[in-house]
Symmetry: C2
């Protein structure tokens, strides 16, 4: 962890913040040769393994609202979304570097809360915080994380490995994070009484928005068992993920609306808002579930994964097709898969 | 390169920006198994090598001023400061991930300019842009870069390897970047005539602020030849670097003011501003030179480095001492090494 060379860095505070972070980090594993405190971290890569690297930022006012997420939630999620990208490649999480861009007035207590969340996610995903940097911000809080992982060469899960006829699966449930955020926004303008009435029902959805769970075990098992032909995470929603995998694999896709594992509380909430639960759930982002494809001949391997994911549902929702186009089958009719995204 | 899952991402633009970046990247080397466009990049680590990882952000209004640096300068410097950290470990630069946090109104032309600078630095330091992400910003422009490198196990240059009696060296010259930024700030309030009169004299200093040159060759040679016992870069100024190396090595240090390679134009400019050129040069940051220590017994190895750095001066400026304290010897008197930094 270093502070950047500029006049602002010469004000008291940044070095103290960095020392504070270093003191809170758990002991590093032996694969970390040089940890926080030098120009860079130095690690011993696992022998014969490929390395996976990804970076993603959470920006205040874009990705989170301080009214709806605590600093601890923000730290947790900033690492979680990166771990999700690592495990979507079939890799085991290894390291994280934190780049914290902190608004004026950030206290040691604020930093501790942020770090609480980061370290909680790091512990549960077995990720080591190996370095990073702190900068001041004249604007919003930005938590930028780089995460790495390691994967055996033949076990990498890319987006483009699917073939026509492969079954499309999704882990867990969809729609909860979008419903949770939607409810938080509506509730912010409601009376305390109305808010309290729905709080219990919406708690799981709100939690999914605040603290998404990357599917570490499922991703690693899919990779290890070579049980999927393609995989990605649902950061931008299920409809987007199906499109990306179909496009990268050079196939079409057909999704069965009735099979979608829509979170029940989310479905109720979307319906109460006058929204179509199917369209809202598949276009809503932030679910961080895994979407993956399973060829028929991988059935045995896939069963081994299902038996080891400890209760996480893996639901078949459709298949890749020879015909181009990404379609939704609903009540016997096929139409283009709706998407909240608009492209150029 | 991915866009983040949030409602903002659903507005047109981010995917187009990402596709645009991907089209501009040069062909990836064979060590990149999966490049931009999947959940994460996948690379083959060099066999038997350790891996070096660092991250550092440039934040508008803190690290740069759009009046003084073009977007191309900002892109160049954002990668340069990370490459500097990698080579300060004795490593060869390998990959970079870009995390771009772009204010509303950023055009494709803006992105191209930023990328011009990044790719210029990438080409000259042989760094491959392997991935990244784009987020919108409700505030300032942030260019956050993660860089990696590879180094043979015994060739790592850490900060804490110095011993009393080791000579302290610095590459290139110091003070230019701070003088350049100082002049830009003064000149911004001057008439065009006054500005033009000094522009030629200050051009090199200004360039050092806008586009620092990481000492790639020197760092790699020091590592390869095992010619230094400790090393770091001067991101926070020479005084800070001497302190950090002495502290990490458990030694004191004595610096000879007369030996310091202060940039002549910078020295003149500091003097004209009524500043002490020595104090201003050693407390000014952003030089991105290397500070390193050379034990007497490494003399032969160090000569091999000097013969191969292609004209870059490597100047002996003092030595590590048994007595604690970081001192400056000047006109026969010793005093504490001045520093622009104040610590808790």
């Amino acid at each position: 962890l270093t502070s950047r060379g500029d006049e602002a860095a010469r004000q008291p505070g940044e070095r103290a913040l960095i020392d504070h972070i270093r003191r809170r980090l758990p002991p590093a594993p032996p694969s970390i040769v040089v940890g926080p405190g030098d120009d860079a971290a130095v690690i011993v890569p696992a022998r014969g393994a490929f390395q996976v690297l990804t970076t993603d930022a959470l920006v205040e006012g874009i990705h989170f609202d301080r009214r709806f997420s605590s600093l601890s939630d923000i730290g947790y999620k900033a690492l979680a979304v990166n771990v999700s990208d690592v495990v979507a490649m079939g890799a085991a999480p290894e390291l994280a570097l934190l780049s914290l861009i902190l608004p004026a007035g950030t206290t040691l207590g604020d930093l501790d809360s942020l770090l609480d969340g980061v370290l909680e996610m790091a512990a549960s995903s077995r990720t080591t915080v190996a370095g990073g940097n702190i900068s001041r911000s004249p604007g919003p809080l930005v938590v930028d994380v780089t995460a790495t992982g390691s994967v055996r060469p033949r076990r990498i899960l890319i987006r483009g490995g699917g073939r026509p006829g492969d079954a499309i699966y999704v882990s867990g449930s969809i729609g909860a994070a979008a419903a949770g955020l939607g409810w938080l926004r509506v509730a912010a303008n409601q009376t305390r009484g109305l808010r309290l009435a729905a709080e219990d029902v919406m708690a799981t959805c709100v939690r999914r928005h605040q603290r998404p769970e990357p599917r570490v075990r499922a991703g690693m098992l899919l990779g290890r068992n070579k049980a999927a032909s393609a995989c990605m995470d649902l950061s931008d929603g299920l409809a987007d993920a199906v499109r990306q995998i179909a496009e990268a694999s050079g196939t079409g896709a057909l999704i069965d609306a009735a099979a979608l594992p829509i979170d029940p509380a989310a479905a109720d909430w979307f319906a109460a808002q006058g929204l179509d639960p199917v369209a809202a759930s598949i276009s809503g982002g932030d679910d961080y579930e895994l979407l993956f494809t399973v060829p028929r001949r991988y059935k045995g391997r896939f069963r081994a994964v299902q038996e080891n994911v400890r209760g996480l549902p893996l639901t078949r929702i459709g298949e890749l097709t020879t015909e181009p186009g990404v379609l939704l089958s609903r009540d016997g009719e096929k139409s283009e898969l709706p998407s909240g995204f608009s492209h150029f």
